[in-house]
């Protein structure tokens, strides 16, 4: 269900620089990085978006018409009114830092860790920003488009056990 017109108008009234669009019944708002946290806090506190469905990221490297490299995506839902809204925020290298929203939704903890693990987006104020899926000693961010699909040797850099060693 798209966001209610009152929600969209409230966002537009409070954040003049937000760009709103609708595509196949889904409301999307592009937020500048400076007002990202304020907008999410506003939606959480005033508009009742109490469910953070997901945080994910898109790497637009070599993508046509793309200006910034990374697109951070927040999917929110209001359980009371069944409204859903997508907040997007574009980031470019070298400054890949956004404020953490763990203070708004506790469930953002592992989602932000996954985005950090796969894309290397740094969430400032996160209580425990470690890798969540890959081993701690991993050095790359594998879902970035400039990372080779077959890796850089991580999958075969292990000792080989022979019969007499085991």
């Amino acid at each position: 269900m798209p966001a209610a017109p009152e929600t969209v108008n409230a966002i537009k009234g409070r954040f003049a620089e937000a760009v709103e669009s609708e595509f196949r019944g889904q409301t999307r708002v592009i937020a500048p990085r400076e007002s990202l946290f304020d907008m999410l806090q506003f939606l959480r506190g005033t508009r009742g978006f109490d469910l953070l469905v997901d945080i994910t990221c898109v790497d637009y490297l070599n993508y046509r018409d793309a200006i910034e490299r990374f697109g951070l995506v927040y999917l929110l839902a209001n359980v009371e009114t069944s409204e859903r809204i997508t907040i997007r925020c574009f980031l470019d290298e070298p400054d890949l830092t956004v404020p953490s929203v763990t203070s708004l939704w506790a469930g953002a903890d592992w989602m932000e860790r996954e985005v950090w693990d796969m894309f290397g987006i740094h969430f400032e104020g996160h209580p425990d920003l470690r890798r969540i899926l890959l081993p701690d000693e991993y050095t790359a961010f594998p879902l970035r488009k400039d990372y080779p699909l077959q890796g850089r040797g991580e999958r075969h850099n292990f000792p080989v056990l022979r019969r007499d060693q085991s």
Binding site: L134, P135, P142, Y147, P148, L149, Q150, G151, R152, G153, E154, R155, H156, F158, P159, V160, L161, R162, R163, D164, S166
Partner: protein, 185 residues
């Protein structure tokens, strides 16, 4: 009642002559205790193989133990990622000799369709494998056939002291550590 004597050997008829190696192999092959290293959908077929319809107990291999110290057959069922491989190697090292390994399914044997940065392209690059079971996933009949073939192998070349594990051809890696060219790079 007296037992008759075999005229050829001079031994009573209730005495059988064999090699000690053959006796040990016969005991070992009919009491394989599998270590289920099930990481993916092959593990479901592995469970089906142990369950009542296919009944691995018919071949003496039904005692799945979840401690490697009590096992002598590791069945690697499913894809192994680079985070899991050190665990796999440690479990393999914890198993007591003599021990064997079955690589079950396309993913464990070759990486399958998962030619990505984290999936190990065949466990035989890093641990010794005795039998490969093809399939995606293999049916329980295929796994049972693999276990029967492994039993034949144990009976054929096993020794009491495990000397066959020290043979040069057993020491060789099955596959070279050569990476395929990266597509599109």
């Amino acid at each position: 009642m007296a037992v008759a004597t075999n005229p050829q050997t001079g031994l009573p008829d209730n005495v059988m002559v064999s090699r000690l190696d053959a006796l040990a192999n016969w005991c070992r092959k009919n009491s394989l205790w599998p270590m289920p290293f099930a990481t993916a959908c092959c593990g479901i077929e592995l469970m089906a193989t142990g369950a009542s319809r296919h009944d691995l107990a018919r071949f003496g291999a039904e005692v799945f133990r979840f401690s490697p110290r009590q096992c002598d057959l590791m069945i690697v069922a499913g894809r192994v990622v680079m985070k899991m491989l050190p665990v796999l190697q440690r479990i393999w090292q914890q198993m007591p000799e003599p021990k064997w390994c079955i690589s079950m399914g396309a993913c464990a044997s070759t990486g399958g369709v998962f030619d990505t940065y984290c999936v190990v392209q065949g466990i035989d690059r890093f641990i010794p494998v005795d039998m490969y079971v093809p399939g995606c996933p293999p049916r329980p009949e295929q796994l049972i056939q693999g276990i029967i073939d492994l039993q034949d192998k144990i009976q054929r070349e096993g020794t009491l002291s495990g000397k066959e594990f020290a043979l040069p051809q057993r020491q060789q890696r099955k596959r070279a550590l050569v990476e395929l060219p990266i597509i599109g790079q």
